[in-house]
């Protein structure tokens, strides 16, 4: 019997999880930040459903994203025939919410609350999110299928057990599930997979003037890292030797030690 190669094993596990979420709830959505992880997840979701994803793909638009992100989103939403759902907290944006007010409040208002409103509006039962265990210690504590209550609270002190691939199926009426099909991937796996599959990614990841973004989000809160990696191959090589954390350029991880835990317990991705 053949033994699968490593990337193929990761991909197959992700397909199984995506299909499991759809099989259980039908009314689900995939969260696409346009970053490398969620773009890889989207790529795999297209495989899971033979080219046509049968549910909406959601972009949470804070109004502060890089212009490259908007361009990439609109281009590939069309090419891949996505049912794109744009989720924005317009009232907060109009009343001047921004990172200069307070980074924690801004993340909460423009991402978490926007997401809450969209989930309510469309009565979504499960959300596919491309978080990975190796990107942040708090994310390393996540389950593949993680329930959230009406207030989107993550009850991290009392997470249900998750055994093998027999994922949580039942939901209370006021719960929804965060489903994490990419949880077992590492940053370097993502890049090796992008290389293997020739998945398009935004140019922000490639070095220009010795700087590149390793993790992208809002333009206001992302800092590039020093790097000469201007091709996927060079990025893989860089990651094989780096000692810098992936999210070292992300402001919300740094404010204070537990910002990520606080944000996540309020429903942040």
């Amino acid at each position: 019997m053949k033994i699968m190669n490593y990337l193929s094993e990761l991909e197959n596990k992700t397909i199984y999880i995506i299909r499991e979420a759809y099989s259980r709830f039908r009314n689900i959505s995939l969260l696409w930040s346009i970053g490398k992880d969620s773009t890889a997840m989207l790529w795999i979701a297209r495989k899971a459903f033979f080219g046509k994803i049968p549910f909406p793909v959601m972009h949470i638009d804070t109004n502060y994203k890089f212009k490259e992100i908007y361009e990439f989103r609109d281009k590939y939403a069309k090419i891949w025939g996505l049912n794109l759902l744009i989720s924005r907290n317009n009232s907060a944006i109009e009343s001047g919410m921004g990172p200069e007010v307070n980074k924690f409040k801004c993340c909460n208002a423009l991402k978490t609350i926007a997401l809450k409103d969209t989930i309510k509006k469309y009565n979504l039962k499960a959300l596919l999110l491309a978080i990975r265990r190796d990107e942040h210690g708090i994310r390393a504590k996540e389950r593949y299928f993680s329930p959230r209550d009406l207030n989107f609270k993550w009850d991290y002190q009392n997470q249900p057990a998750e055994l093998w691939n027999l994922y949580k199926a039942g939901l209370n009426s006021d719960e929804h599930l965060r489903v994490h099909p990419m949880l077992h991937w590492r940053e370097i796996d993502i890049w090796r997979y992008i290389a293997q599959e020739k998945i398009p990614v935004t140019p922000l990841y490639f070095a220009k003037n010795n700087l590149r973004y390793r993790s992208i989000g809002c333009e206001t809160c992302c800092m590039p890292v020093k790097s000469n990696a201007n091709t996927i191959k060079k990025i893989v090589r860089e990651l094989e030797t780096t000692k810098t954390a992936e999210r070292s350029g992300r402001a919300q991880d740094k404010e204070d030690t537990y910002t990520m835990q606080k944000l996540r317990s309020l429903g942040y991705m």
Binding site: Y6, K141, A161, S248, Q261
Partner: protein
């Protein structure tokens, strides 16, 4: 480029040093981003402590202030030989569900024991759970050797108790390694403080383990996960658990006697003629038969076990006990059926590994038992040792997980 990956779970009694061992491994294999070390120094200082390497793993605020792991964490590191995923588990009894969650993700287990305290309640329970969920690759580490002046005598005493413990579980650890995680002794290399010890260092022992590959059977098992309507065709999707498929092959859909031929195998972007175990695929059939999630596709001349009675070893995780004849749901691969326990054959206290004779009609929280089940319709099962994914199940009630088990 295609390096081997081994997933290991670190288990053991509370405070025996699980998180410290992982912190030490990361430190000594150079797997830490530099910001991480600065961050834990800062936090340790803020909490008025020396640099606490366990904080690398214990990420929650509550975990650091209470000096305990609450939930399972995964961390990655590599050696020259291969990549590792390490899963740290909480050692507290109340957090046993988090420990089991971590353990089911691993193919290798490390059981850590404080040499001053010796074998404790959770040491036995974790050993039992490791055995029950089918992990056979085991290393025992005897930690805190610094507290007993690296005494060979003490090591031999605990080693012999461990061997006895594993004998009762019908298992044998591959290595029993003395270490001091706090001082970094015998983690990555041998140390003169343990000059009486002839075995490998902990990391060397890890590298010597072989990944446990399941012996795969040739007979087809494809549990149907879902049915999609694509371009007016019904596409059955699922993961092939064993065996393989070729176009034109005759198959049988269980439960029932409906047979069909495979008209097409679908993998997006490919035109496969064949698919085999591990692959998540779609298929279309040459005739219209009733197939839904939970059906299992097998070879036409199959000798599969399609049964409505079976025995399992279970571990119970709910305050509400398992009771004879009270209905609940059982899930095995994509199959889901109503079920009752007909008979509790024997019950084991997982912390002492002794038989329990009281309340013979109930299995309570954190108890283990051998149970005879009856389902309301037949399902396709296998012995766990033959095919894991059809040999394991979870028990649910009111949308909550109550227990889990393996089929014997």
């Amino acid at each position: 480029m295609d390096r081997e990956t081994l997933s290991i779970v670190i288990t053991g009694h509370v405070d025996h040093g699980k998180s410290t061992l992982i912190g030490r491994l990361l430190l000594e294999t150079g797997s830490l981003p530099k910001e991480k070390l600065a961050e834990i120094k800062k936090i340790s200082n803020a909490l008025g402590k020396d640099t606490e390497i366990a904080y690398l793993i214990d990420q929650f605020k509550e975990e650091r202030s209470k000096d305990m792991t609450i939930d399972t964490t995964q961390i990655f590191f590599k050696t020259r030989k291969r990549d590792y995923v390490i899963i740290d588990c909480p050692g507290h009894l109340e957090l046993i569900k988090n420990m089991i969650t971590g353990a089911t993700l691993a193919e290798t287990a490390i059981l850590i024991i404080d040499c001053a305290e010796g074998i404790m309640e959770q040491t036995k329970r974790h050993a039992y759970i490791i055995a029950m969920i089918g992990i056979r690759n085991i290393i025992v580490v005897i930690n805190k050797m610094d507290l007993v002046n690296y005494s060979q005598e003490k090591f031999i005493e605990i080693k012999s108790a461990i061997n006895t413990l594993f004998q009762t579980l019908d298992m044998k650890p591959y290595f029993i390694v003395p270490i001091s995680a706090k001082d970094g002794v015998n983690i990555t290399k041998k140390c003169s403080k343990l000059n009486w010890y002839n075995g490998p260092s902990f990391l060397k022992a890890l590298d010597m383990l072989k990944p446990s590959r399941e012996k795969t059977s040739r007979s087809l098992r494809l549990p149907v996960q879902d049915v999609y309507d694509i371009e007016k065709k019904r596409v059955l999707v699922g993961k092939i658990l064993s065996g393989s498929l070729v176009k034109g092959k005759e198959i049988l859909v269980l439960p029932g006697s409906a047979k069909a031929k495979i008209a097409d195998i679908k993998i997006f972007g490919k035109k496969p003629k064949k698919a085999s175990n591990g692959e998540n695929i779609g298929i279309t059939l040459d005739r219209d038969i009733d197939v839904k999630r939970g059906c299992v596709i097998v070879d036409k001349e199959s000798t599969s076990r399609l049964e409505n009675r079976f025995q399992g070893h279970i571990f119970w995780m709910s305050e509400k006990p398992l009771e004879i004849n009270r209905p609940f749901n059982i899930r095995c691969a994509t199959q889901e059926v109503k079920c009752i326990a007909e008979k509790i054959e024997r019950k084991i206290n997982s912390s002492t590994l002794e038989m329990i004779s009281d309340n013979p009609d109930k299995v309570g929280l954190n108890e283990s038992a051998k149970v005879s089940f009856k389902t309301d319709r037949p399902i396709v099962i296998e012995e766990f040792s033959r095919l894991k994914e059809l040999g394991r199940f979870v028990i649910e009630g009111d949308s909550a997980l109550l227990g889990a088990g393996i089929i014997i």
